[in-house]
Symmetry: C2
Subunit: 344 residues, 2 copies
């Protein structure tokens, strides 16, 4: 009996290991070109501040730094990947949410392929950007942006992003991850390593930079997440001839309701994960987009809403591009793109 | 005569265009895998601060943000590229300089392939990271880092990085680019878009994160630039068994002279551009490294110094990975790697 139990435990262990290996197996991406650029920004003059002497590296000669002068701020970083075998005409642009950077779409925090890798592997020209003031886009001094940046404690997003009922806690019992949750808890602290400071006063600058990006690389498909909902919808409203399809992944920012008709020719997919009904904030956030969608539909737009639990896909958090079934969801997005004629 | 002049102008125009096209032609990179991760960092507790209500996106529900609690700070972002046809055993790690991020090594500011693309195209497993507090690594709140970050005006690096005699100016006469300079002035403002704020008090944290990176992905070759000189040398001194070769591109930060013997088995290449003798700071910066190199040599290390003008390569700025002849210099680095047995 003891022997059988041992064998069963071994077998179960193998099964777990086997599954983990399958999930973390890298995709063969077959990339021909990788490149990056910065776009946008504006010049700002600072004056009336004292000069400083700064030793930039210990032992190095001090350099005189005069903070007065002309700065270039509010530019945006973009990295692109061109597969060797491009299978679709339009590129796909992946725009991240608040307090994050383009890293959102790269390798998941627990080491599996993210949506960036998935779309590249499927033959899409893929652009991943860091919104203004995030990541490699840089940010401006307090002389230029007087408002304070926001920082997140490690316990904050666990509940706010609908992973568990309580705040993050090292103790699995205390953090109370939702039953059936697809978010990999072993990757949560790595996810928090991806979080970057954010301002709440840079939306106009961000929209300006994304608009310049669209002018440069589109016609295209734009996929946005969370705060990016505002940027995707407003930029599409500003450039309805350039944004050919809009994928809104749990949008927490919104388009201009007075410009709904600008989107009349743009197919829109809106997609939500699980646990929304039991959350204090997400029913309202979803409702705001649903009301906006009605205006888009009234204007003639083709709008599809997928609530994943309604099609039998359960357990997804706000960070569905990192959840264990992230590639399944990417596949659903691709199916929609196919239905709309953007994919063979 | 007029006709001949016209033809000559046309011919000259073609020649210029032809050259530009050759330079910006993308390299076929033949990449199998792209991925990223964050590494390192530490937990910090903040307490005694008031709670805030923050509306993260206009129209969204306000979220309660309590700044007190546990933060994860001083982590580092790393992106890697694995060629389909890996030609060399060891990966090469590219570490950038101060006020910059890994973007330093990507596409040049005027749109040509950078060293990242070059090394990938030559079959190297290539790792590009953003040092702690730069780019996608994120940064910590003033509650955690009390010192001020530094910001650069657009005119500052033009002279400090030995591109021209004066500060940057839109007027080519006033900025006085050095005769024969290889830096593409049409890319200068794009270069300034790459600049990110920096602190001067995070060296220890940065060394800790780079050390974790080396522990994770090495044995390897480490190539550093400018401020990275300190990080490369100190991390190699901490992990002499893991860093198999060290390439110091105009180091402006330095190793620990008391630990020179740790590098006795590590081949070191130190490489400098042009205009050092006419600069107010660079003779001292180079001299500091030369004195340190003597200690490395005394300890038994193989150290090579290349002053590019001495081998007939003129006009290089401090940003030689962006200069017009950047791939020629990458080739010189590869020749040295070959001589040292790290390349076929």
């Amino acid at each position: 009996m003891k022997q059988i139990m041992k064998s069963l435990i071994l077998l179960f262990g193998f099964f777990i290991l086997g599954t983990a290996t399958a999930q973390t197996k890298p995709l063969d991406l077959n990339i021909s070109q990788v490149g990056s650029f910065h776009i946008g920004g504006r010049f700002v003059e600072v004056s009336g501040k004292p000069t400083k002497e700064v030793v930039f590296s210990p032992g190095s000669a001090p350099a005189k730094i005069d903070p007065n002068g002309k700065y270039l701020v509010e530019q945006m970083y973009v990295q692109y990947f061109i597969p060797k075998d491009v299978k679709h005409q339009l590129p796909i642009l992946l725009w991240h949410g608040g307090g994050l950077s383009g890293v959102t779409y790269e390798t998941t925090p627990d080491g599996r392929p993210g949506w960036q890798q998935y779309f590249i592997s499927q033959g899409w020209k893929t652009y991943v950007s860091d919104a203004v003031e995030r990541g490699r886009s840089g940010w401006a001094s307090p002389d230029i942006w007087p408002s304070d940046p926001q920082f997140l404690t490690i316990d904050n997003p666990w509940h706010r992003f609908r992973i568990g009922a309580n705040a993050w806690n090292d103790d699995p019992v205390k953090r109370a991850q939702y039953p059936g949750s697809q978010f990999p808890p072993e990757g949560y602290l790595n996810f928090m390593r991806q979080v970057v400071p954010r301002w709440t006063t840079t939306d106009e600058a961000t929209i300006a930079a994304y608009t310049e990006l669209v002018d440069k690389v589109c016609p295209c498909i734009v996929l946005v997440h969370s705060q990016g909902g505002q940027f995707g919808q407003k930029v599409a409203q500003a450039r309805p001839d350039k944004v050919k399809a809009l994928i809104l992944v749990e949008p927490a920012g919104f388009g201009d309701p007075n410009k709904a008709s600008a989107l009349k020719n743009i197919p829109i997919l809106t997609i939500y994960g699980d646990y929304i009904d039991i959350d204090s904030r997400w029913p309202k956030i979803r409702q705001t987009q649903m009301e906006l969608n009605q205006k888009y539909i009234a204007a003639g737009a083709s709008v599809e809403v997928i609530n994943l639990p309604e099609i039998g896909i359960k357990g997804n958090s706000h960070m569905m591009m990192m959840d264990r079934n992230n590639l399944q969801i990417a596949g659903i997005i691709e199916d929609w793109l196919k239905k709309k004629g953007f994919r063979d």
